[in-house]
Each structure stands twice: as C-alpha cells, then as structure tokens.
Symmetry: C2
Subunit: 205 residues, 2 copies
C-alpha cells in the first residue's frame, strides 16, 4: 500500500500567529492507497516543513572523532547536559551549519569549539539521516573524522555544558554496554568501535 | 558549568486544555551554574515529561534482525513510509511496548508483525538511547537479534506501508554509502555490518 501526505498545518504559534522560533508542532493528514485517511502529529525546526521525495535537508552534523597521537588511538566522547532529558548524555560533538558552509568546515569548527581538537581528515560522511522519522523531519549527517590535539572546553559557547573524554576501545565497549544515557546516533557507532577497534578496513570511503 | 532545568510547561492542548493525544510541545526554563537563565523548546510523547537523573524511559524498541538460513546470513532492512518526511525511509523494524511487556517480547511481536520473521535469539540490548536529545525526550532500546523464516508483510497493521529486504553484506554497505533516506539509528549499524560482516566477535553480550 502506498501512503501519501495530503496536507500539513502548524498548530503552534506566537501571539502574532507566526511560527515559534526554534521548534513547532505540525499536524499532517495522510491517505493510504486503499483510500483511508488519518492524521499524524510531528515536530519540526522548520517554519514550513518540506515533505516529499526530494533529498532530506540536514542542517546539522554529528562528528565521530577518532583521536590519534604518535602511539595511541582513542574515540572522543562528550558528556553534555541535555535540557529535554534534564540530565547528561554521552554522545559525540555536534552542531549546526552556518548558512551554506561546507559540512566538513562545520565539523571542523564544531569539533574545535566543543573539544579544542583539530580535525585532520574526514574518513566518511553519512547521507542525511533522520533522527526519528515518526516524530520529526530533523536530519543530520554523521562525519567520521580523524583529529589531534589536547582536549579543552575553552572554546565552548555560552550555555553549553560539555565534558570531553578520550576513550580507548575497552572504555568505549564498557560505555556501550552500560545503562548510561547515550545518544541514539552514537550508541551503534560506540558498539562498532568497542567491538572491532579503531582500525576498520574500508572505513575511509 | 552545571546546568539545571527549573520548570517545564506544555504549550499545546486540545479545546478542553488537555494534552494532545500523540505528541505535545513543551517549553523548559533552565539555569546555568553561573546564574544565567534561558528557555528551550522540545517535544514529547508524554503528557508530563519526567526530566532528571532517573533512568530514561524507553517505550519503543528498534530491532536489528540478522537473518540466518542453513547457508546464508543477511541483514533485514525495511523501507517504510514516514509521514514527517512525506517519503520512504530505510531502517529497521520498530514498535511500541504493550504496557509492561518484556522488551524481548515486544521485539519478537513487532518483528513478526512487520516482517513475518521469527525471532530466535537476542544477541544484544542497548541501554535506553535518546533519539535526539536536543529536540525530544523520546528514547528507545535497540535489540540486535537473530531470526529465521520467510519475509511477509501479511501481519502488517492498518496504515503501515512497509517493504522488507534481506540484504547481504555488500548490499548493506552499498545502502550505507548511498544518498538514500536512512534512519539515524540504523545507519551506523548498517555501516558496521557492511564493513565488518555479520560475524563480529563479542556481538552477543
């Protein structure tokens, strides 16, 4: 059965009837191939979500930083306060593109701002991937990169509350096997590096 | 700097002032350790989100099904219509727990409903992982499982629009390296199996 969305309207607004600044809730109506109709609620950071067959718009990047020194390799993991959880979450550095900035530049900038580390090589870039496509049109690209330097939170912006950790393979596997709060995009990647190590054939590609 | 959430209020409601049924938008106020205040918008499927240091509540499971026959191993991937995208997305079978149902039972039930396949073994269960912790408190558990049988969409519920594919390692890597719309929780797992294959030391654990 082929479904399609027939209409979308915004249900949140400010006093003047305009979209809220950071996030809005929408109601979609859809139709199934056999003619049934239904509604679906979702959230979007866009004032007017673009639904359909075009490419997903990914305005954010998640950076998976593999840190290398002369004799060690580590995975860079951040522990960050997340307001919707009211608690700390383990994940990777992330951030929003500035306008039309190339995403490798976004990754280098956000990695520097959140961790003080220097991006030296982009190994792999994901397609635009959806955070939770039943709930939101939010999408990001994951960039797996190599980096170097000494971690520092000195470049951190305003209200960010971030701690940076360099974890070896065993620590990464331990974290992925724990009951800690972990980002859903980060956990499978932590599991991979925790099980397989940091030297994976074909990772650069 | 340690942040904390000081209040949360719901900004969406029905005509009677009650929470909407499936999704609501909330406004949190937070305070930083150095005394600055701010607001943050987020979405929740809960009528009253529980923020704080307790465990994340994961009411949904994502099932990563490794299909085995006498002589072949494949990854089960679904292509599903997602209303917030208005398009199809590649990912894994997923679904909501029925009340206090053990999550391995949820995984077996949803796998059967969405693919017709029989769960034979749970290899690994993730902690509760957050879909996108800047935007929502939604959390899920990922269960990596083994399964068998013949794919069929016959058990599909109502409006679901799902196609099931059994992919070998090369097809999985090709998908992860494509520009297709892919679930953010699925892509890193697809990359892992695509690069490393289905026999990974320590995966069961």
């Amino acid at each position: 059965m082929k479904n399609k969305v027939t209409s979308v309207h915004r249900i949140t607004s400010d006093a003047a009837g305009n979209p809220l600044r950071w996030l809005n809730q929408f109601q979609a109506e859809f139709e199934t191939a056999d003619g049934r109709h239904g509604t679906w609620a979702f959230s979007s950071r866009r004032a007017a979500p673009v639904l359909g067959a075009g490419p997903l718009a990914a305005d954010a990047v998640v950076i998976v930083p593999i840190w290398k020194s002369a004799d060690e390799t580590r995975l860079v993991v951040v522990r960050e306060f997340r307001i919707p959880l009211g608690d700390y979450e383990y994940g990777f550095p992330a951030g929003l593109r500035d306008g039309d900035e190339p995403i490798a530049d976004t990754a280098a900038r956000e990695l520097r701002e959140e961790t003080g580390l220097e991006l030296t090589k982009v190994l792999r870039t994901s397609p635009a991937i959806a955070s939770s496509a039943g709930l939101t049109d939010e999408a990001v690209r994951i960039l797996i990169v190599e980096c170097r330097g000494t971690p520092s939170a000195d470049h951190c912006e305003g209200v960010e509350d971030i701690e940076v950790r360099l974890m070896d393979q065993q620590a990464v596997l331990q974290l992925a096997s724990s009951d800690e709060k972990i980002s859903g995009k980060a956990w499978p990647t932590m599991l991979m590096f925790g099980l397989v190590g940091f030297e994976i054939d074909g990772l650069e590609g």
